[in-house]
C-alpha cells in the first residue's frame, strides 16, 4: 500500500487503485482534521472558517 513495500509496482493498476484509495483516505483524513481543528478553535473561542450557528437540527 506504500511505494516502499516490496509488492508495490509503478504500474497502471497501482496508480489507479492506490490513487483512488489515497484520494478517498485524504478526503476523509483532511475532513476530520478540519473538523477537529475547527472544534478546538471554536471551543477556545477563536472563530476560524466562518461564523457558526447552532441551528443545524
Amino acid at each position: 500500500m506504500f511505494p516502499f513495500i516490496f509488492e508495490w509496482v509503478w504500474d497502471m493498476s497501482h496508480i489507479v487503485f492506490m490513487g483512488g484509495l489515497w484520494y478517498a483516505l485524504s478526503i476523509i483524513g483532511l475532513g476530520m482534521t478540519y473538523c477537529l481543528i475547527k472544534a478546538i478553535a471554536d471551543t477556545a473561542g477563536i472563530g476560524i472558517g466562518g461564523h457558526h450557528h447552532d441551528d443545524h437540527h
Binding site: M1, I5, F6, E7, S13, H14, F17, M18, G20, L21, A24, L25, I27, I28, G31, M32, Y34, C35, L36, K38, A39, I40, D42, T43, H52, D54, H56, H57
Partner: protein, 412 residues
C-alpha cells in the same frame, strides 16, 4: 435513573425493563463471543467448512450484511448528493444500521481468516488485482466513513453535548457531512461491486464466472445495484420492526414511501438486469465452458432450480412490482412483504454467489458436496445480530436517532 442521558422530550421504557432486554440479548452475544474465541484459539477446525467449502456461512453473512447495510450509502447518496431532503428523517437510522452491518462484516472477516494476526497483510502486501483487496480497503475505509457519520450522533447525547468541544466537533462534522457521504458512496460503489467481482472473476468456476467490461465482471455492477436497491428496503424493514417493538411511530409515512419508491425502481431495473445477465450466462457463458445451465442445479438435494425462481421472481419481480406501484407502497402489509422479500432476495443472491459456487463440481468426475454450518459458525453469525440489537437499543434510548419521534409521539 438514567433519565439525564435520555434525549429530552421522548419517553423510554424503565431502566429495569431495558436491563432485562440487554441481559437477554447480551446472553446471546456472549454465546457468540464464546464461539468466536473458540475459533480464534482452536482454529477454523471448529467450523464445518472444508476444502470444498472454503467460503461458507460467514462469507455469505458478510456479503449479505454488506448488501443489507447498503441502505446507509444509498440513503446518504440520495440525501446529500441528490438532495432528497426528506430522507434526513431516516438517514440517522440508516447510518446506524450501516455501521452495525459493516462492523459486523469486519468482525466476521476477522474470524473467518485462518491467521487473524496476519490480517493486516491484505493492506500492507496488497495485491491490487484481487477483488478481495479492493473489498478490504474500501470496506475498511467506508467503515471509517460510517464511524464518522455515526460519531456526531453519539456526541448529540444530552450529556456529551454539554462538553463544548464535542458540541463543536459534532456541529462541524454535520457541516461537511456531504463530503463524507460522497466519499462513502464512492467507496461503497467499489466495494459492493468488488464483492460481486469476488465470484465473478473466478474463471475456474463457471457457475460464478461472468464476462464484463474492462476488469469488472457483470456481477460487479449487479452487486452494487442490488445493494442500492435492497439496502434501503432493509432500513425500512428495521425501522418498521423498531416501531413495532417500541410501539410508536418513528418515521413519517411520506419518508418511508419516498425511500420505498426509489428502492422499488432500483429493484425493478436490477431485476431486469439480473434476468438479462442470467439469460446470457445460461445461454452463452456456461455453454462455452461445457455446462448446460441445469447442470448447475441438478444432481444434488439442495441447489435446485427453485433457488433461481425464488431469487429472481419471488424476491425480485414481486417486491419490485409492489414498490413501484403507489397502492403497493401505501398498503402497509404489502410494503412490509415487499421489503422482507427484497431483503431475502439479496441474501439469497449472495448465498448462491458464495455457496453454490463452491458446491457445483467443476471436474466432471467430482461430486456435489453439501455443507451444514457448525454451531460455532452459527453462533458467530448470530453474534453480530445480537450486537446490532444491543447497539440499536442503546442508540435509540440515549441518542436522538429519529428526528420526527418527538413530533409523532408528544409526551403528555
Amino acid at each position: 435513573m438514567d433519565s439525564a442521558l435520555i434525549p429530552e422530550g421522548v419517553k423510554r421504557c424503565s431502566v429495569g425493563k431495558f436491563l432485562i432486554f440487554l441481559g437477554v440479548v447480551g446472553a446471546v452475544l456472549l454465546w457468540g463471543v464464546f464461539a468466536m474465541l473458540l475459533c480464534w484459539i482452536k482454529g477454523l477446525n471448529q467450523t464445518n467448512m472444508n476444502d470444498y467449502y472454503g467460503f461458507a456461512l460467514w462469507i455469505w453473512a458478510d456479503l449479505a450484511v454488506i448488501a443489507l447495510g447498503g441502505g446507509a450509502f444509498f440513503t446518504g447518496f440520495l440525501r446529500y448528493i441528490i438532495g432528497k431532503d426528506e430522507l434526513k428523517n431516516i438517514i440517522n437510522y440508516a447510518v446506524l444500521i450501516g455501521f452495525i452491518c459493516y462492523s459486523s462484516a469486519l468482525l466476521i472477516l476477522a474470524i473467518d481468516i485462518g491467521q487473524p494476526l496476519r490480517g493486516w497483510f491484505i493492506f500492507w502486501h496488497a495485491n491490487v488485482h484481487s477483488m478481495l483487496t479492493e473489498v478490504a480497503f474500501c470496506l475498511s475505509c467506508y467503515f471509517g466513513v460510517l464511524t464518522i457519520e455515526y460519531l456526531p450522533l453519539i456526541l448529540e447525547n444530552r450529556q456529551l453535548e454539554k462538553v463544548p468541544f464535542f458540541h463543536h466537533l459534532s456541529h462541524n462534522m454535520h457541516e461537511i457531512m456531504a463530503v463524507f457521504a460522497a466519499t462513502g458512496a464512492f467507496l461503497s460503489f467499489f466495494h459492493q461491486g468488488s464483492l460481486g467481482g469476488v465470484s465473478g472473476v473466478l474463471f475456474g468456476r463457471p457457475f460464478g464466472y461472468r464476462e464484463g467490461i474492462f476488469i469488472w465482471p457483470w456481477t460487479f455492477f449487479l452487486f452494487t445495484w442490488s445493494a442500492a436497491a435492497c439496502g434501503p428496503c432493509f432500513t425500512i424493514l428495521i425501522t418498521k420492526i423498531t416501531e413495532k417493538v417500541t410501539r410508536k411511530k418513528l418515521v413519517k409515512d411520506n419518508v418511508i414511501e419516498l425511500l420505498a419508491k426509489i428502492s422499488g425502481w432500483m429493484l425493478a431495473t436490477y431485476t431486469i438486469a439480473k434476468i438479462l445477465d442470467t439469460w446470457y450466462w445460461a445461454s452463452v457463458t456456461a455453454p462455452s465452458k461445457g455446462f448446460w445451465v441445469l447442470d448447475f442445479y441438478s444432481n444434488n438435494p439442495f441447489y435446485g432450480p427453485w433457488i433461481l425462481v425464488l431469487e429472481i421472481i419471488i424476491c425480485g419481480v414481486l417486491p419490485a412490482l409492489i414498490l413501484i406501484t403507489e397502492s403497493g407502497r401505501k398498503s402497509k402489509p404489502a410494503l412490509l412483504l415487499a421489503v422482507i422479500l427484497a431483503a431475502i432476495g439479496v441474501s439469497v443472491n449472495r448465498w448462491v454467489m458464495v455457496l453454490q459456487v463452491m458446491a457445483v463440481p467443476v471436474m466432471p468426475f467430482d461430486s456435489w458436496y453439501m455443507y451444514f454450518p457448525s454451531w460455532q459458525e452459527i453462533a458467530t453469525t448470530i453474534l453480530p445480530v445480537a450486537y446490532g440489537v444491543i447497539l440499536i437499543g442503546l442508540s435509540h434510548r440515549y441518542l436522538p436517532i429519529f428526528p420526527q419521534e418527538k413530533e409523532l409521539n408528544p409526551v403528555d
